[in-house]
């Protein structure tokens, strides 16, 4: 399975990664190589096999509905890139 420039640009956009024009071909090549490695999976017969998301049979534990966290806004925002009046700032979003 080979990826071309357009494929890389598409995925880079999905993942919100800026990639220099000059590097795109390089990524396309290394990604294609990785996919070549991955394509080997097709040689295995997995008919009737359940996908395994976690090792061992594990089920979700439930948490009691209690408020356990106190207000730590100042501490958690101490090193945030841009904060004003307790809000995280980002370039204006148009809806």
């Amino acid at each position: 399975m080979a990826l071309d420039k357009k494929d890389v640009e598409g995925i880079a956009h999905l993942a919100r990664l800026a990639i220099d024009e000059a590097d795109i071909d390089g990524y396309a090549e290394s990604l294609s190589n990785i996919l070549g490695l991955v394509d080997q999976l097709n040689s295995v017969d997995t008919e009737g096999v359940t996908p395994m998301a976690h090792p061992m049979h594990m089920v979700q534990r439930l948490r009691a509905d209690e408020v356990t966290e106190t207000n730590q806004r100042e501490h958690l925002q101490e090193h945030a890139p841009a904060v004003e009046r307790g809000l995280f700032l980002v370039p204006k979003v148009i809806e």
């Binding site: 993942a15 990604l31 097709n42 997995t46 996908p51 204006k92």
Partner: protein, 488 residues
Amino acid sequence: MSNDMHSKTIAELATGLRNGEFSSAELTKSYLERINASNEKLNAFITVTDEQAMKQAQAADQRIAAGDTGILTGIPIAHKDIFCTDGVRTSCASKMLDPFIAPYDARVIENFQNDGAVMLGKTNMDEFAMGSSTETSYYGAVKNPWDLKAVPGGSSGCSAAAVAARIAPGATGTDTGGSIRQPAALCGITGLKPTYGRVSRYGMIAFASSLDQAGPMAATAEDCAMMLQVMAGFDKRDSTSSERDVPDYSVDLNRDIAGMKIGLPKEYFGEGLDSDVAKVIEAAIDEYKKLGAEVVEISLPNTHMAVPTYYVVAPAECSSNLSRMDGVRFGYRCEDPKDLEDLYKRSRGEGFGPEVKRRILIGAYALSSGYYDAYYLKAQRVRNLISEDFKKAFEKVDLIMGPTTPSPAFNLGEKSDDPVSMYLADIYTIAVNLAGLPGMSLPAGFVNERPVGLQLIGNYFEESRLLNAGYKFQQVTDWHQKIPGEFA
């Protein structure tokens, strides 16, 4: 303070502290000096927390004086820079988190603190734990203390290097596809990846959530047992944390292993294994036979599918785990973003290195519409088969053994242009993460003066058996005592 303090194991240091032979303050100071002297050569530490360490050492000395010792009270430990440490930079060796001062402690860190251990600092690693050579770090590559031209392995390469060079008696690592065991092997030390869920992942920055586990790295199995004792245990903040009781990992270290059944997977001894490494491993297996173990050939037929499976599952999970690194609430933000898209793309584009970007892209691709079934679901099915292989094997044997890596450490720069070739070197370790089993690497010898590791794989939650087997091996061999000339 004698000059060979650094050649003592954690067990010996703990005894020394308890007996008042030296103080934690002296011990800590000595290690901090060694770190300082070596950092240029090795580049093992991203952050050295000297002030904090001395304070913790003093507090530890008071506890020891009061007779209130834990297991590692007063022992200096280095932590992989993937564990959140409150008030201390936690970078994951990435530009993206270079400005990140963690506002809380990981559970693992809390455990060490409560036990009275001393934190020396945060060790270098492959960026976001992605790599097998510690060459992808934003802070520069790390050298193998045995041969400064070689890689120390990765991603916990610096934790391994630090222990190998004895600039820390023990260090924490994390293992997603071999990242504790492989660097332990390449640096000639002991490293253990516990069963999935044995150690809490809370505060451990996630790479691949269903594969990651934190574990101890030290000179000996006995030391790893002590560290694991402190690290293991249920954490209600981690849904994947096991509620199973934590046994005493040290009590059965010396149990006789005669009659223990050891399986050697034929797939681990075939093509691709360096013949000199094979000889080292065979010699190691012979030691086990002398100890009375019974060695049996087994088969893990889907071994060759482990690497392809991993390189779908791990990138898929990490592509999503790293989405939170967006320059909004913490970490690196690009300068003058012109709009939201620009903020995201440039913060992430500039903040992440190429290997991380590669894995995010592959992961996003594998999950994308039209490819999810063919890649992600397919990989999860094969994962099930790989797991079944181990289940069947453990019906016949108690432990599985083989080489940790197919060859000793490669040179810096040798594989950095060829990611796939790097990936293939994880062939023996990766399946263990996919199945969630515990695995350990023991130093077993040298090839061309570079260390070689023997891997032991145990059944679920059988860390005690692994440590027992490791301890017995280390009673009859001395590889674990060797220190590279430069750092002796």
